[in-house]
């Protein structure tokens, strides 16, 4: 297919992109800022919860227990208090998110072989951060129970041990999970929003009118307009992957070439969606609103931050309608697991279907007239 007017369009778009410093810095800035934000700030593994201790027992045993809590790394002792009211106040103020109460008879009960109770109070208004504390507290007790019971039974080795091997992300690090997802989210954001804006801008400024009285074809206009953004998307993706690799130590395990190939399919699908949105709206502001309306479910339902398995079935289905959901599986599959086409072909097939369908939709809607 000969598209002689594609190149002048492409060239023009490039000059404009270079001159529009604001958009350019947003397109470069978004990936970097988001990466640093998500990589550093968002840590789903909560550690070092500020903790106050009310030790009424004041014995070597009780001090030993408090040390055991601290050694898990989940609790950071910020203060020792003298009474229950001081502990409650600290929790209420928020200067502590956990309180450990060791009662008077802790050491005595231990010695008498009775159950010695320890109270752990957790601020559960944020379930995510309290969960780690609750698990750690249970763990502390369990480990000590095993030691004591084992000694009593004359059996120092525990009878059963579950040897868990966390594969693909052995350190259970959240950047390994977040960064590949971020590639997909940023591509969605830029491709959908920027394309929709770029076309509506021509309509809004009246330049589209002048353009469509020329013999340029629909295809040349559309391709010339969006092709430069394919380049932008691939640059953004590379930036996130490189920063992820060298700043956050996120592995690039699999075939990077395959990753870029699938990314191209995803980019085409997203661009077509942006193009489609541009045919629905009249102003840049509307384009922005519609795009954000679309981007939000992408972040929430695609499995970027929240596990899809935990969602009600309806939302799992809704999530499956988003190209990002499938692209994320490919991203994590290639980057973390190092798997290839044999494992990922169903997702790739879905992405191809999306791309073809959305191109069709955009081409049908995009006309070379004013109405």
């Amino acid at each position: 297919m000969m598209l002689p007017r594609f190149w002048p369009m492409f060239r023009k778009e490039f000059i404009q992109m270079r001159r529009d410093r604001l958009t350019l810095s947003i397109m470069v800035g978004i990936p970097v800022v988001q990466l640093l934000m998500f990589g550093y700030a968002i840590q789903t593994d909560v550690r070092h919860i500020p903790t106050v201790v009310l030790d009424q027992s004041r014995t070597p045993e009780s001090r030993d227990l408090v040390a055991a809590f601290q050694n898990t790394g989940n609790f950071r002792i910020v203060a020792h208090v003298d009474g229950r009211s001081a502990l409650d106040a600290a929790l209420a103020r928020g200067s502590a998110q956990a309180g450990i109460v060791v009662p008077y008879d802790y050491a005595r009960d231990l010695a008498r072989r009775r159950t010695a109770a320890v109270q752990v109070i957790v601020d559960a208004s944020d379930p995510l951060s309290s969960q780690a504390a609750i698990q750690a507290a249970a763990g502390v007790a369990q480990v000590r129970n095993l030691v004591i019971l084992g000694a009593a039974a004359g059996r120092p080795q525990p009878p059963i041990e579950a040897r868990v091997r966390p594969r693909y992300n052995p350190g259970l690090r959240s950047p390994n999970y977040i960064v590949p997802g971020l590639v997909g989210v940023i591509l969605t954001l830029t491709m959908v929003l920027v394309t929709a804006m770029a076309i509506v801008r021509e309509r809004e400024r009246g330049t589209l009118e002048q353009l469509i009285v020329t013999p340029i074809t629909r295809t040349e206009l559309m391709l010339g307009k969006i092709a430069p953004y394919v380049g932008v998307g691939l640059v953004q993706m590379s930036a996130v992957l490189l920063l992820g690799r060298f700043v956050f130590d996120v592995p690039l395990t699999g075939n990077v070439l395959l990753l870029y190939g699938v990314a191209l399919i995803f980019v085409v699908a997203s661009l077509s969606l942006g193009l489609f949105i541009s045919t629905l709206v009249r102003t840049q502001q509307q384009a922005m609103q519609v795009s954000f309306f679309f981007v939000l479910p992408n972040i929430l339902l695609s499995g970027f931050m929240f596990p899809r398995q935990a969602m009600p079935l309806v939302f799992q289905w809704l999530g499956a309608l988003l190209p990002l959901t499938h692209f994320l599986k490919v991203l994590r599959g290639i980057l973390l697991k190092g798997v290839g086409v044999p494992a990922l072909w169903p997702e790739i097939l879905v992405l191809v279907t999306f791309a073809v369908g959305l191109i069709g939709l955009a081409v049908r809607r995009f006309h070379k007239t004013l109405d």
């Binding site: 002689p4 007017r5 190149w7 002048p8 369009m9 060239r11 023009k12 000059i15 404009q16 001159r19 529009d20 400024r205 009246g206 330049t207 009118e209 002048q210 353009l211 469509i212 009285v213 020329t214 013999p215 340029i216 074809t217 007239t369 004013l370 109405d371």
Partner: protein
């Protein structure tokens, strides 16, 4: 060349229940400067947009440069130049870049493009403006640049939609001198306006009101046809406007 440059039959355009252009039958000869005159909302712009293939007619037919608008709009577009009411070029590109872009879009190869740019730039006195951003030009210069872009591919027909809106009187006179030069060289010029002095400059005119053709002919003939005691074009225009408001 006996074929008319533009020929419409019962050309109609509706927007919902509004009839913007109604049953327009019109013939424009090759090489004439033809004016479309009428108050705001009389259907001038809609007519021009249909002739340029920007809007599809709801009814009727139109032949432009010998081609039916509904049949092959892209072949018409190779033969016409169009200047919209609102400045439609890229303000973030320089004068030279705009010219080069439109030259390329009209399919001129690089060498021919350079030559043609030199030609229109000399014709319209744009040479010192070439490196300037289009957005920084004044109204008069923007208008010249828009004309230059519309002339890049040497069209046989030139459509100008209120080309002198927001342009100072000296620049307007200059602009009309250019129009007459183009017409002498064989370009058909179709121009909408609501300035009387500009309407007087046209060889023939079509007076429109509320989407209908009221009168067509030389300026004097049009004034006579409108009636209501109108002797000049200006009288005729005011008579029409008052009729519209009633």
């Amino acid at each position: 060349m006996s074929e008319p440059a533009v020929e419409t039959r019962h050309l109609t355009r509706r927007f919902g229940s509004l009839v913007a252009v109604s049953d327009l039958t019109l013939q424009i000869e090759t090489g004439e400067v033809f004016g479309l005159l009428g108050p705001n909302g009389s259907g001038k712009t809609t007519t021009i947009r249909m002739l340029c293939g920007l809007l599809a007619p709801s009814d009727g037919t139109a032949r432009v440069a010998g081609i039916e608008v509904t049949q092959a709009p892209d072949r018409i577009k190779e033969r016409i130049g169009y200047m919209s009411q609102k400045f439609g070029l890229y303000e973030d590109l320089t004068v030279g870049e705009n010219l080069d872009f439109y030259g390329a879009i009209y399919g001129l190869p690089a060498a021919a493009r350079r030559e043609r740019i030199a030609g229109v730039v000399a014709f319209l006195g744009l040479d010192r403006r070439l490196p300037q951003l289009a957005g920084q030009l004044s109204g008069g210069w923007k208008q010249r640049l828009a004309l230059a872009c519309a002339l890049m591919h040497q069209p046989r027909l030139l459509f100008l939609d209120e080309p002198t809106a927001g342009v100072d009187p000296a620049a307007r006179r200059n602009f009309w001198r250019t129009i007459h030069t183009l017409a002498r060289e064989g370009t058909t010029v179709i121009v909408t306006t609501h300035y009387m002095d500009e309407a007087e400059q046209c060889v023939r005119l079509a007076m429109m009101s509320q989407g209908r053709l009221i009168a067509v002919g030389t300026p004097a003939e049009v004034a006579a046809q409108v009636g209501g005691g109108a002797r000049t074009l200006e009288d005729a225009f005011i008579v029409l406007q008052e009729r519209d408001e009633r």
